[in-house]
Amino acid sequence: MTAGSVPADALSGRLGRAAVGAYSSVVLAFLLLPIAVVAPMSLSSQPFLEFPPPGWTLRWYYDLGEQPRWLIATVNSLCIAAPTMLLSVALGTLAALAVGRIGRRWARPLTLLMLAPMMLPHVIIAIGLYPTLVDLHLQDSYAAVVIGHTVIGVPLVFLTVSASFAAVPPSLELAARTLGADVWQAFRRVTFPMIRVGMASGALLAFATSFDELMLALFLTGPGTETLPRLIWDQLSFALTPTLAAVATLILALSVVLLGTATAIGAAGGRRTLRAR
């Protein structure tokens, strides 16, 4: 008897498989539907949101180019996301390496601390951070938002680096050290090559999170440091224009690029490990 001929559970018979397949297509369509709506809206010739659009134009994209506010917000977002990424990678990697080699007793509470920002509502983190950053005279500076976004970026890097570091046996570093490498050399030549995929995917996640984040930005940015999500949010309460759809489409394109990069380095990493074995 072949494996396929026994309907092992309620979902794996031929009928069950067809039903699951049809159902999955519907759910995946639900997941992609909103993303699919935004791009056509940005090309609509109508200033009011009408779907499907009655005609097509690139006008809203030109409009976007003529409003420096959007460009400034984009630059602000990048000026915040890039340092956030670097800081999150540095802190998250340090934490993952330390927690990975520490005894069980300390690993638990430290993991809890490192992952806590991911579980807490951002509004609470924002409420807490605001007075602290005002005390440090950082209000309306890039530093304020970078600190806020790094708080939520550290857990992402911590998770991805921990995952790849778990596969590195401690004996490798030990071997490097006995052979005369100092701590930095052992990290640079032995540990780093094995965790760099984890670091890179953590970095991408931290960047994407910072680039999209709204709540902390609402509290921690000032007129001079307004980020793209914040500007979109402010515009949303005015009017729903195709200009917004144009911005959204451009950001979606960036997300697709980021996801593609993540998949590519993930795949490259997988291939490399296979070859090493």
């Binding site: 559970d9 999955s24 539907l33 909103p34 935004v38 601390l113 509004v123 409420i127 995952a163 979109i232």
Partner: protein
């Protein structure tokens, strides 16, 4: 090596949170007076109840929607599997603001959803979808669904299919195999997904604010409003403390339920 990240999080997370809790106690002559105000005004309690109810409904809908989908992805091979994973990951990488904005377009009075329902003759005239809790729930399910699907896929792809065949050969009906073997083996994924979705749903702001409006205020919306509209920091601190303690309690409860492996919640 541990010092920089621990110091950073202590200064910019633990201490600020402690400060929020401290501020919520209020002036020394009338401690906890803010909490008395919160309890006395039914509005805040109702809003907390609404938040918990929404999180609960969203979690259940996500679980029911995600389980068969995760099953299909975990058992798909080759390009179908890759295509499905990409379709699940793509929304995860796109901005929550933009996805909520897309729902705003879809749910317009003359938007695609109303048009579709009219075309199907399910409704006679356009219905109000925006500013209702239904809109909020659909939007939140859409945003949180990947967080349910991913842990489910992870635990489903670990299931040893020979166990299912063994149960089947030993005479169990397909339904029984599913309930007694498959469901039990994937229970860690179910718990992980539910905890992720439930806890994230409790703190939701963007989607309910955009799709539900002020009438359907969640806890996070009240906190934001307390600061930006009323400039009432003690009130915001008290509401934050309640939400914070609820979240932490749930986090620890779920962590205990899943055997304390907090990291596996996400992967």
């Amino acid at each position: 090596m541990l010092a920089p990240p621990v110091v950073f999080l202590c200064v910019f997370l633990v201490m600020p949170l402690a400060r929020v809790m401290w501020a919520s106690i209020g002036p020394p002559e009338a401690p906890f007076s803010v909490y008395a105000r919160v309890v006395a005004q039914g509005f805040y309690l109702r809003s907390f109840l609404y938040t918990v109810e929404t999180a609960f409904v969203v979690t259940l809908v996500c679980l029911a929607t995600a389980y068969p989908l995760a099953y299909a992805v975990a058992n798909a091979r080759g390009w179908t599997g890759r295509l499905m994973s990409t379709a699940i990951l793509l929304p995860l990488w796109t901005s929550v603001v933009i996805r909520s904005y897309a729902w705003l377009i879809l749910f317009q009075r003359h938007g695609p959803v109303n048009d579709g329902l009219l075309w199907l003759h399910w409704i006679a005239e356009p219905v109000q979808i925006l500013q209702t809790s239904v809109a909020v729930r659909i939007g939140m399910v859409h945003i949180l669904l990947p967080f349910m699907v991913l842990p489910l896929i992870a635990s489903m792809s670990k299931v040893d299919r020979t166990l299912l065949r063994a149960a089947s050969v030993l005479g169990a009906t397909p339904m029984r195999v599913f309930l007694r073997v498959y469901l039990r083996l994937t229970l860690p994924g179910v718990l992980a997904g539910c905890s992720l979705v439930f806890i994230s749903a409790l703190g939701f702001y963007i989607t309910p604010a955009l799709l539900g409006g002020a009438r359907n205020a969640t806890a996070a919306m009240m906190i934001e409003q307390a600061v930006s509209v009323f400039l009432d920091w003690p009130l915001a601190s008290a509401l934050s403390t309640i939400l914070l303690l609820t979240t932490v309690a749930l986090y620890l409860a779920f962590a205990r339920l899943t055997g304390g492996e907090l990291g596996t919640l996400v992967r």
